[in-house]
């Protein structure tokens, strides 16, 4: 009898342990959702893009029991809908799209913002480049000329539009005779060098990059305008619905992302150098410029 009683006790203890561990495990496991807008990440093709974001998300929950979900979204509206219902913890977004949806996003955002860095510095300065041989001194001298620009880079296109509106008071398509969509920013610079285009608007680091490959390029081109405003090409935003633990894990992983080979490989997929935490004030220049652009548009 005594033996049977102990056997039942052992069975009960085993069951308790089993359920207890499972309960604890389920309780500890958390789904962290990442969402991104496809339009802002055109450097990658559709298939690579989703895989790359998934890899990035997985890398960000490294050393944790959490699981990830990645949502590829078509529009800001769709994103906002998901954010509103709390399905999204992190957003990877082009800065221009952030600027456009900033007002609606703001209630859901925490103060943790990460800026994507393509060069040595997170902030990019756009320059207007013209051929050395032509006597173009400023933007206005390019009226009726051609310009090369990588149209997928929304922020650059926004700035060109802003600049033309501000300097020439004309819509961009009226100002330039031809706007050439280049595959890369480097090609835009090369177009100017080879005189297949009169000008281009690119980040300053691209000019340096092209000149690094062929210093003779610098002899063929000339910069006639600096943006002055420093742009951050993309942002990683944490929603305020995220748990503290998960936030800590992801923060730590983001900080050490560029320190490990796998993180480097993932960033290479996005053609970026690192993802750094930025202060909310760092966005103020961009926001101000965007607001100014908006006001010019409204006036018109």
């Amino acid at each position: 009898m005594i033996g049977k009683r102990y056997t039942w006790i052992v069975y009960l203890c085993s069951l308790c342990c089993l359920f207890g561990f499972n309960t604890w495990s389920i309780a500890d496991t958390q789904h962290i959702s990442f969402a991104y807008l496809e339009t802002g990440l055109k450097d990658l093709n559709d298939a690579d893009r989703h895989v790359a974001v998934q890899l990035l998300a997985k890398e960000l929950i490294r050393n944790s029991e959490n699981e990830i979900k990645v949502f590829s979204l078509k529009s800001m509206a769709e994103m906002l809908d998901m954010i509103k219902v709390g399905k999204v913890n992190y957003v990877i977004i082009n800065s221009y799209l952030y600027l456009t949806g900033r007002q609606k996003l703001q209630p859901f955002l925490s103060d943790e913002i990460w800026g994507v860095q393509r060069d040595k510095e997170a902030k990019e300065n756009y320059v207007l480049v013209v051929a050395q041989d032509f006597n173009y001194q400023n933007l206005n001298s390019l009226l009726g000329k051609s310009i090369s620009i990588h149209k997928d880079y929304l922020l650059q296109n926004f700035y060109l539009d802003y600049l033309v509106k501000k300097e020439a008071k004309l819509p961009i398509d009226k100002f330039f005779k031809r706007i050439k969509d280049t595959r890369t920013n480097s090609q835009a610079v090369l177009d100017v060098f080879f005189k297949t285009s009169d000008s281009c608007l690119v980040p300053k680091y691209v000019v340096d990059l092209v000149a690094e490959l062929n210093p003779a390029v610098l002899k063929g081109i000339r910069i006639v305008h600096y943006s002055g405003v420093e742009f951050i090409p993309a942002l990683v935003l944490r929603m305020n619905n995220n748990s503290v633990d998960a936030s800590n894990i992801i923060r730590n992983n983001l900080l050490t992302l560029s320190d490990n080979a796998r993180g480097q490989e993932i960033m290479n997929l996005f053609s970026i150098k690192s993802i750094k935490p930025i202060n909310a004030n760092a966005l103020q220049d961009m926001i101000k410029t965007y607001d100014e652009y908006q006001s010019m548009t409204v006036k018109k």
Binding site: S186, D191, T196, L213, N214
Partner: protein, 529 residues
């Protein structure tokens, strides 16, 4: 020896197996090298062509519109994504020549002559050094749009991958050959052992069997020829053992049979001795009978001879008596006449007595071996037959030197001469030969001896009976006149008692009987006659 044999088979099989497998492995390995090189070369060519076509297709619009920015950017990107390409050189027929490498790009005023020589309507490649790179797989791809040649695309590929593949291939071949060697050694060892071990075992067993040990058996149980050999070997040993056992049984039986036969033979020998003794005794008896017959015949003949010898003196003595009677009747018997008659009578009686002595001497049985003169004996013998010969008008001639003597039995030699003259006389008379003649010739023979030839002119011995004339009881004479033992006894006397020989031959006149005698013959002391 056994170990040497074992080693020999083992080593031969081992090395033969090893050689074959290694040869096949090496053959395929070295056959594979050029094929693999060619395959790698084809891969390089295909890869180069693919990359070139891809670049040209991607840059076609840019090439036509001379969008050099795109061309540079595209090729920079291509090189960035493909580290095995050292450089890309876009050489248009008209326009800027652009060289892009992994670190930079630049415009060229002029294409190197070496590269320029490669530009043609076809795809070509060459291993050369360019842009600081050695052993570059320089591939030249003609850029043609709608049948119009626009220029050439030069791409420098690294041969490192190709060389690495070749090195890997050689390494793999070395590994394969090495591994094959190990496998060959291991498998070859067991294979050679598998082949040689049963053979060696059977060989050792065969040696033991050859040494006489039939208790050994092979324990090899296999379902192949060696298994069959093993079974056959065991059956052979069983058979040998049975044969040996049978042989032993046969031997025992044979020994018993030999003993039995020996015993029988011994018994037979005992009977045979008795029989031989009996036969010898019979032979002796027969010989004695022959001798007796011979002596009787001789005596008969001698009595006849004596009768012939005595007839003349008896007639003369009768005449002397008749003369004395007549003189007495006539009264003229005086003392002188009486004395003369008595003397004459005495002489005749003396002669008759002498004749008797001669015959008595002739038949004297025991004669000693002595030296005697041939001529004397022949003459004395002829005198015994003188009357008979004269009676038949047979002319007897003796040609014999005076001083020839021999050692032997004089009486028996005389008897032989007598027999031969008698035979000659009988045949001369029988055949009624005109001028019958007997010639006795004695001449020294070649070597040590003499030949005595008794020749007649009776025509010779018929050839049909030549082989039988010395047989006992063979005679050609009329029944009652001949005994058939004369020549037989003569041959025995000459050949057995005097160590000589007697043979006969015919010549144109008649028969010749030749007695050959040695000067010092091994004479028997005792006469058989």
């Amino acid at each position: 020896m056994l170990i040497k044999q074992k080693s020999s088979i083992f080593i031969r099989v081992f090395f033969l197996f090893g050689f074959l497998v290694l040869a096949i492995t090496l053959f395929f390995a070295f056959m594979a090298v050029p094929m693999q090189k060619e395959a790698f070369n084809q891969i390089m060519l295909t890869q180069a062509e693919t990359v070139s076509r891809s670049i040209v297709q991607a840059s076609s619009d840019a090439l036509i519109s001379r969008d050099y920015g795109f061309i540079v950017e595209h090729n920079v990107e291509v090189l960035k994504n493909n580290i095995s390409i050292f450089y890309v050189l876009v050489s248009p027929i008209a326009g800027e020549t652009i060289l892009v490498n992994q670190k930079s790009w630049r415009l060229l005023d002029k294409v190197d002559d070496e590269l320029l020589s490669l530009e043609g309507p076809d795809i070509v490649y060459k291993i050369l050094s360019y842009e600081g790179f050695d052993n570059v797989y320089h591939f030249v791809y003609p850029i043609i749009f709608s049948g119009v040649q626009w220029g050439w695309l030069h791409i420098g590929f690294s041969t490192e991958q190709y060389n690495k593949l070749i090195d890997n291939m050689y390494k793999q071949i070395i590994y394969i050959v090495g591994l094959s060697l190990l496998i060959i050694m291991a498998v070859g060892y067991f294979f050679a052992r598998w082949i040689s071990r049963p053979v060696t075992e059977i060989s050792q067993l065969a040696t033991q069997v050859a040494g006489g040990d039939l208790t050994v058996r092979s324990n090899i149980k296999r379902q192949d020829e060696i298994g069959v050999l093993s079974e056959s070997f065991n059956r052979m040993i069983d058979s040998l053992q049975q044969s040996k056992q049978q042989l032993q049984n046969y031997n025992q039986e044979l020994e018993q049979e030999v003993d039995h036969r020996t015993q029988e033979l011994a018994e037979l020998n005992k009977g045979l001795d008795a029989k031989i003794h009996e036969e010898v005794a019979k032979s002796k008896q027969q010989e004695a009978l022959l001798i007796h017959q011979s002596r009787s015949a001789a005596m008969g003949e001698m009595i006849g001879a004596i009768a012939h010898q005595w007839r003349q003196p008896l007639n003369a003595l009768s005449l002397v008596q008749q003369n004395m009677q007549l003189r007495y009747e006539m009264g003229k018997l005086d003392a002188d006449f009486m004395s003369i008659s008595m003397e004459k009578s005495n002489r005749l009686i003396q002669k008759m007595s002498s004749t008797i002595d001669d015959f008595r001497n002739f038949f004297k049985p025991n004669k000693h071996v002595d030296i005697f003169y041939i001529k004397y004996v022949i003459r004395a013998t002829c005198e015994l037959l003188d009357a008979q010969l004269k009676n038949h008008n047979i002319n007897l001639t003796i040609n014999c030197p005076e001083n020839i003597n021999i050692v032997g039995l004089e009486g028996e030699f005389s008897q032989v001469i007598l027999n031969l003259i008698n035979n000659a006389k009988d045949v001369l008379v029988e055949r009624s030969i005109v001028d019958p003649m007997i010639t006795i010739t004695v001449i020294p023979a070649s070597g040590n001896g003499i030949d005595v030839t008794i020749k007649d002119n009776a025509g010779g011995v018929p050839e049909s009976i030549f082989d039988k004339i010395y047989d006992p009881y063979f005679t050609t004479k009329e029944e009652g006149r001949g005994t058939g033992i004369g020549l037989y006894m003569s041959k025995i006397i000459i050949e057995n008692n005097m160590g000589g020989s007697l043979h006969a031959f015919n010549d144109s006149e008649g028969a010749n009987f030749v007695i050959h005698l040695k000067n010092t013959p091994p004479i028997k002391n005792k006469s058989i006659v």
